[in-house]
Symmetry: C2
Subunit: 183 residues, 2 copies
């Protein structure tokens, strides 16, 4: 009874985030279980990735719910969003790059739902006049993904401090790099 599915998935996520090509044996060893047991519970690497995908979607949707994207100003919602989603950006980045390989297969509907929520948020910001309209909501969504990936990678590499994650991403995404308070 020493098998803890949750723990195995977390460990696998941590490992695969850093080593996307990690072997099933390495995943098993990292989780402290044998290769055979890993295979008993996940029939092949695809199954494992699918399970991680479910986990990532669930965490992401939980973060989106916690961020209450439809409340308050869109700007504040983005700020809450980035803060809430930070813990799962590593997993998200891994799944994002993994998805490219499945280009033939059907993409999980969960991503579509998440995409739609983010798109709706940025559209809402545009309609309320908070966000500029010469950048499409679709692009801002993609840019958010890119910045989350770059941010989590930079933190992992130690190039920026973890505590600055939210501030860096939100400020750059919303305000850009140009100094605006110049008289």
């Amino acid at each position: 009874m020493s098998f803890d599915r949750e723990h195995v998935l977390r460990t696998a996520a941590d490992l695969l985030t850093r080593q996307a090509t990690a072997t099933m044996a390495e995943v098993a060893r990292a989780a402290g279980i044998s290769r055979a047991t890993l295979n008993r519970h996940f029939a092949g690497r695809d199954d494992l990735v699918r399970a991680l995908e479910e986990l990532g979607i669930a965490e992401c949707e939980a973060a989106l719910a916690a961020a209450r994207l439809t409340e308050g100003t869109a700007t504040d919602a983005v700020r809450r969003l980035v803060r809430e989603v930070q813990p799962c950006t590593g997993l998200l980045t891994f799944l994002y790059s993994e998805n490219q390989l499945f280009e033939g297969g059907t993409q999980n509907a969960g991503w579509t739902r998440i995409d739609e929520q983010l798109n709706a948020l940025f559209r809402r910001g545009q309609e309320s006049g908070e966000f500029r309209i010469d950048l499409s909501a679709v692009w801002i969504t993609e840019a958010l993904y890119g910045l989350l990936g770059a941010g989590s990678w930079a933190v992992l590499e130690g190039r920026v401090a973890r505590q600055d994650f939210t501030h860096m991403i939100v400020e750059l995404l919303l305000g850009g790099a140009t100094r605006k308070d110049t008289p």
Copy 2:
């Protein structure tokens, strides 16, 4: 004499950009040569990736030179930079993700030089008062990489138009998503 190293590298770059896990046989077929010939000129996948790395660095440094990063305002320099670097963003993104796998090995000095040039550009912008100083130059550099990757991927997926690439990235990086001309 039908072997054209340049053409093979270009084709391999195009293919691997979309299919990072493409087989050596697929690379050879895409380039219109036999697997044997590919192996005669590149001793293994590592060699091929190294050659692509050299190509990517060379193209990137050429783009940086063409952008004349030290001339004019930093803002204009960034604009030129993104425009010049656009043709090789696909290759850059591939190499960026490939580098994660080589985490043990020594990273090519070319990337360090490029990093340093970009860092210098953003520092210059901060010192001239164009760019905000609460976002570190290192982070802005990483963010640029992330946005270039997200942009080239979004273009490849057809989610945004190729012609909008420069505008999207530059405007978001410099100006952010917030509308600033609100009265």
